[in-house]
């Protein structure tokens, strides 16, 4: 259990993030619906230049397939660019430490990892990546993947609303996501973080003489700007291998709270934005309530046992903040860490797995919201029939096609986690990275694939997983785990956007009753899919009395 003061502080942080999220959603709404404002005078020409340079028409209405194709092309092209930078960084500039080229499988894993907003890192940034790789490759991809996440959410929201004649235009959404949302916000956040003590430098690592007479290498770099997008864009890929446990990335309790706040900001704004786009803010409020309930359940599971400050945790951050960060980072698919996962008791790991299996509590930037809608569609369909009507969501009848797409989305998740995990044990890959056949070993391997498939990026194996098997298998899980759900949700949204809207006495979804049923239904669906594996992993570990995995 956590103390009363800590809970009050948590409630305060959540309250501020909810208010900020609401404010952000009003801004996002004007960005994506193209409302004119003073900012157009500055950004309008810039964006116009980008559209012309890229040769795209931002006014064209795309079908969901066109939207998906442009999204995928852009992402893969950016991924390929990052891959080339990583395998050739030794020949490229901005490499004062003279780091060698990355091995192809690790480079592939890293490029895929950052383009899919996963940021699973089988390397330690400070000893493997040049400044160019940090900024141009992985840093840029953090912006791209976050922007793509926002685009997907907005496109799906548009389709669900049925008011925009389709899902919109990817280039329009993508460019505006960057110019009007992510770049300005990251810039502001970076300044704030730098002010709070994060390094922002390109001059190479500093070698300093310590008080004790030895020397120490201070690995400085463009950290503040990196961390701002890593947290805001629920990326989670750290500048340093130790991620936010590193004092350069997260020097104080103040930066700790600020960075945690940044993780939840966009995912909190998403349900509000949904309500605005579909034209009924209450729909958004109820989704937000559902999301925060699931998030709170995860937090509660993690705090069943009072967190103890132990090996692998930072004293400046404390046990409470370490556990809370871990649950938040896994619930939001950020995956950044301010402590070693091996420091936690099995129930914290259980909570982290819950977040990654659910993917919507609140989930990653943009993608969390679409997973939530996937659950909504299935829930409305199953329980909505009991109201004695063909189930409708926002007035649109749910068709066999929607259910087919939703089912593909659902089936893909356990498939991408469990099959490679089983394979890892069969092929001996698990043993080669030190994962034994007990509850702890099983958990760490399952965690790796859960993190990859849900595009989270946290890892219990860490750099140890830098083997060909894990690099390739997690890369596949990350790619499929990102683009299959995006494709099926765009398909559902695309077909919904053209559907006749009923205005009759259908099931109301903008009330607390529905929010409760949605939460129950999500928990049942997650438990139904993953219970045996919870039992073989963290639950077994807890029952066997293991303090940490």
């Amino acid at each position: 259990m956590a103390g009363a003061l800590e809970l009050i502080w948590l409630a305060f942080v959540w309250a501020t993030v909810i208010v900020s999220g609401w404010l952000l959603s009003t801004y996002l709404f004007s960005v994506y619906t193209g409302r004119k404002g003073r900012i157009d005078k500055v950004l309008g020409p810039v964006e116009g230049w980008i559209y012309r340079a890229a040769g795209v028409d931002p006014a064209k209405r795309m079908t969901w397939k066109e939207y998906m194709a442009s999204l995928l092309t852009l992402s893969l092209a950016m991924g390929a660019f990052a891959f080339i930078v990583l395998i050739g960084q030794a020949y490229l500039p901005l490499n004062p430490q003279h780091f060698p080229n990355m091995r192809w499988d690790l480079a592939l894993n890293t490029a895929v990892s950052f383009i899919t907003n996963t940021d699973l890192q089988h390397y330690a940034g400070e000893t493997a990546l040049s400044y160019l790789s940090q900024m141009a490759a992985v840093g840029t991809l953090q912006f791209v993947s976050a922007a793509v996440g926002l685009c997907v959410a907005v496109a799906v929201f548009r389709g669900f609303s049925g008011k925009y004649g389709g899902v919109g235009n990817f280039y329009y959404d993508f460019v505006r996501s960057l110019t009007r949302v992510l770049i300005p916000l990251s810039f502001a956040a970076a300044l704030l973080l730098a002010a709070l003590g994060l390094p922002q430098a390109l001059g190479g690592y500093i070698t300093a003489a310590t008080v004790g007479g030895g020397t120490q290498t201070i690995e400085v770099g463009p950290v503040a700007s990196f961390v701002s997008i890593m947290q805001l864009g629920t990326n989670g890929g750290g500048y340093y291998g130790a991620n936010a446990a590193s004092p350069y990335q997260n020097p104080s309790p103040a930066t700790n709270w600020l960075e945690m706040w940044m993780m939840i900001l966009f995912v909190t704004a998403m349900p509000f934005l949904f309500g605005r786009i579909v034209g009924n803010p209450r729909e958004g409020y109820m989704l937000l309530i559902a999301v925060y309930t699931l998030y709170a359940i995860n937090v509660a599971i993690a705090f069943i046992e009072t967190p103890q400050l132990g090996a692998g945790m930072e004293t400046r951050i404390g046990a409470f903040s370490s556990v809370l960060w871990t649950v938040t980072a896994t619930s939001t698919m950020t995956g950044s860490a301010n402590a070693s996962l091996s420091a936690f008791n099995p129930l914290v790991i259980l909570a982290a797995l819950m977040g990654m299996f659910t993917q919507a509590a609140p989930g990653g930037i943009g993608t969390g919201a679409i997973f939530l809608l996937l659950y909504v569609v299935v829930t409305v369909f199953i329980v909505g029939l009991m109201a004695g009507r063909t189930p409708e969501y926002l007035g649109a009848k749910i068709t066999p096609g929607d259910i087919k797409n939703a089912v593909i989305g659902f089936v893909s998740h356990p498939l991408l986690i469990l099959v490679p995990a089983a394979l890892a044990f069969s092929l001996g890959a698990a043993a080669s990275v030190g994962a034994g056949s007990g509850a702890a070993g099983f958990t760490s391997v399952m965690y790796e694939f859960a993190s990859a498939a849900s595009n989270n990026g946290s890892s219990m194996l860490g750099t140890a997983a830098n083997t060909v098997f894990f690099n390739l298998s997690t890369a596949a899980a990350m790619l499929l785990g990102r683009y299959i759900p995006i494709a099926v949700m765009l398909a559902i949204a695309g077909s919904m956007s053209r559907r006749v809207r009923a205005t009759g006495a259908s099931l109301k979804t903008d009330n607390l009753l529905f929010a409760c049923i949605l939460v129950a239904s999500i928990l049942v669906l997650v438990v139904l899919t993953f219970l045996p594996f919870f039992m073989l992993g963290p639950i077994l570990a807890a029952l066997q009395g293991l303090n940490a995995i």
Binding site: V383, M386, A387, T390, P400, F410, A421, S437, A502, T503
Partner: protein, 712 residues
């Protein structure tokens, strides 16, 4: 005229079918076993997978050594038990289908019996009539229809002119004149003269027979909603296949000591077997319940769409009201009393056979306004209604003859009448006449004060005023009102409670329409409707995203029936209407459109309830089986909340999983019971019952079965 009640016949038919059902038990049994053939079962993937699982466990039971690592020679008896339960699970599913189809067959049989009852007089070559049953008639046969006969089959008039009552079919009480070349609709009644007609269809070709055959055929396309549920079930099956497959794989990798039969038991328990088994039966039963209500649904889709209805168009006449204006009130004017008006109405209606006239006599009886010298009325002379005078009445000669000597205040107290009405012209004669107020005004000299006001007051209440005069003086008014059909208000309340908007359509004046609408609490009505009005209303509602239901019978309703989402045609209506509609009511009762909506909702609710129940059940089965399934992980035993030994738990869960299917067959076939209430309250109630109940019940059920097994 409507002495034969088709529903009563169907009910007795259903009883006969019930007895037959006992005999059918063998058929059902045989059929259900035939359904377990894997080639037939493949159309139901969930059950097909269960049968595959059975085959695997059967192999284990016969020779465990064929599947090493995952089986144990000492468990052979356990494997045999698991195999038997799996086979029973498949059989229960097949049984539910067979039961549902047997019910449909018996309903169809009873529907046929309505038609069989009709007798026909067939004319042979020398025009001699022979009595035959209508189903013996063939196209081209010539039949004789006499006054009072029910037309046995659709035919064309060859000779004669007669009036036909199609009210059973159309709800309009106006008789239709039929002359040579006109079409007679089977089921209508000839009320005057006699006709010779040629049968225009073979019995089996009548539209209703076609429909009944459709009900019977089990080959019906799945509805969109059924397909969606099937896809969901397939998805769940896929997820559980992945889970159980990888669980087996990981258990072998990590040597967790799992037994394949236990894993298969978990698999089958998790599969949505309950809804998978009952899904076809629920659909068939939906059609069957419609048929039991004498409504034939042309497709399952029609029933489900009915459940989605947002707006119901109701004809005022025939649906909301009986369609006949009946006297409800005597309104005296001037110095006259209600009794005088009542008695005058009584006398003037004595020869009046119209429902209006009958109702005046009924009302007078009820108030006791019966003239005492009643027996003498035979001496009176009736004045028939004529289009020129627009009034009818009674002329009494020598009223003095039947004056009563004793006291009393009736209008036939001779002396008073003589004194009062002894006009200059017709001394000793008494004229009582009634008719439309303006017609009576023209024919009389004395119009009492307040006459106009009283007339407009009655009219503004939606009623029809009729004036009554004795001699030259108007003595009062009779209020005529179109009576509501019994029970219609409750039905309208029911659909309103569920958020469905009723719209009343009537050709009446706005005043009348408003008053009737107010009586049944209908907020929206269309008065002075023309034949195309229904179509316009349907289009308008659909344009605003509503699902519209309507009733129709005539050919001019066909376009509206076709464009409405739910079109209910009357069996008595024209074939064009029946073809355009997606539902046909054999009883030709337009008010049943409301029942159609309720039955549609019930079908969807039943499907949703069983699906939710089936999925919710899985939670309990998981928590029962998973803690005991890994023999090398005793630590998990600490969360074995049921506290039963492993094999007992597995058998109990499997038995529960199998038994829940036959236990829910009655629910699947009769549907979820519900009270009409708002969508949200229905939803909440069902969610609590089948969702929360679905999570809790298996814990109790498995524990009970487990304890029973343990005690054996």
């Amino acid at each position: 005229m409507q002495s034969e009640n088709p529903r009563a016949k169907a009910k007795s038919g259903a009883r006969a079918a019930n007895e037959q059902r006992e005999l059918d038990a063998n058929v059902v049994l045989r059929e259900s076993i035939a359904r377990m053939d894997p080639r037939r079962l493949i159309s139901n993937p969930v059950m097909f997978v269960v049968e595959l699982a059975f085959a695997v466990v059967l192999v284990m039971a016969l020779d465990p050594t064929l599947l090493p690592f995952v089986s144990n020679k000492s468990n052979q008896a356990f494997y045999a038990l698991v195999a038997v339960i799996l086979l029973l699970t498949v059989w229960f599913s097949a049984l539910s289908d067979s039961v549902a189809e047997a019910q449909v067959r018996s309903t169809a049989t009873s529907l046929r019996q309505i038609e069989i009852e009709v007798k026909a007089k067939r004319l042979d070559a020398d025009r001699k009539p022979t009595m035959v049953s209508s189903n013996g008639l063939r196209k081209g046969d010539v039949i004789l229809v006499e006054k009072g006969d029910r037309i046995p089959i659709d035919c064309v008039v060859l000779e004669g002119v007669g009036m036909v009552d199609e009210s059973l079919l159309t709800g309009e009480s106006v008789h239709v004149k039929k002359a040579p070349t006109d079409i007679l609709i089977g089921g209508s009644v000839l009320v005057s003269d006699s006709l010779v007609a040629e049968v225009s269809v073979n019995h089996d070709d009548t539209y209703l027979s076609k429909l009944i055959r459709m009900v019977e055929s089990s080959k019906r396309p799945k509805t969109q909603n059924e397909i969606a549920v099937s896809v969901l079930l397939l998805g769940l099956t896929a997820i559980f296949t992945i889970i159980v497959g990888t669980l087996l794989w990981i258990s072998l990798d990590l040597s967790l000591g799992v037994d394949l039969s236990v894993l298969i038991a978990l698999y089958v328990c998790l599969l949505p077997t309950t809804i998978g088994a009952l899904l076809p039966a629920i659909g068939i039963s939906g059609i069957n319940r419609m048929s039991e209500n004498m409504i034939i649904a042309k497709s399952g889709r029609a029933i489900e769409t009915a459940g989605d209805t947002d707006v119901v168009l109701l004809d005022k006449t025939g649906t909301i009201t009986i369609g006949n204006r009946l006297a409800t009130d005597f309104v005296p004017l001037g110095k006259h009393s209600a009794r005088e008006v009542g008695e005058a109405a009584f006398l003037s209606s004595w020869y009046d056979d119209t429902p209006e006239g009958r109702s005046m006599i009924d009302l007078a009886y009820r108030y006791g306004y019966v003239p005492r010298a009643f027996r003498s009325i035979s001496r009176a002379e009736a004045e028939e209604f004529s289009a020129t005078t627009r009034r009818s009445g009674l002329k009494l000669d020598h009223p003095g003859i039947f004056m009563l000597p004793k006291g009393g205040k009736g209008i036939l107290q001779g002396s008073r009448i003589r004194k009062k009405y002894a006009g200059a012209d017709t001394q000793g004669e008494l004229n009582i006449s009634k008719g439309a107020p303006d017609a009576i005004m023209q024919a009389t000299r004395l119009v009492p004060q307040g006459f106009d006001k009283a007339v407009s007051e009655i009219a503004s209440a939606g009623d029809t005023p009729m004036a009554i005069a004795i001699g030259e003086e108007i003595i009062g008014l009779i209020r005529l009102r179109d009576k509501l059909k019994p029970g219609i208000k409750d039905k309208i309340d029911a659909i309103k409670a569920m958020g469905i908007k009723p719209i009343m359509i009537t050709g009446d004046q706005p005043m009348t329409a408003k008053s009737i609408a107010g009586e049944v609490d209908i907020d929206e009505y269309v008065s002075q409707a023309k034949p195309e009005t229904k179509m316009e209303v349907v289009k308008k509602e659909q344009a605003s995203g509503k699902i519209a239901a309507m009733v129709g019978d005539g050919t001019n309703d066909a376009p509206a029936l076709a464009s409405a989402d739910v079109g209910l045609a009357m069996a008595s209506g024209t074939t064009a209407a029946k073809e355009a509609a997606n539902l046909v009511d054999l009883e030709s009762n337009p008010a049943k459109v409301i029942d159609v909506v309720l039955l549609g909702k019930q079908l969807l609710m039943t499907r949703g309830a069983v699906t939710t129940f089936s999925v919710a059940n899985d939670v309990a089965k998981y928590f029962a089986i998973v803690p005991v399934m890994f023999s090398s992980l005793p630590a998990l035993g600490r969360i074995n909340i049921l506290g039963l030994p492993p094999h007992v738990t597995v058998l109990a869960a499997l038995i529960f999983n199998a038994l829940i299917i036959p236990a829910l067959i009655p629910l699947a076939t009769r549907g979820v019971r519900f009270k009409p209430q708002s969508t949200m309250s229905l939803f909440l109630r069902n969610t609590l019952t089948y969702g929360v109940g679905g999570v809790l019940l298996p814990f109790i059920g498995i524990e009970a079965i487990g304890l029973l097994i343990k005690s054996l």
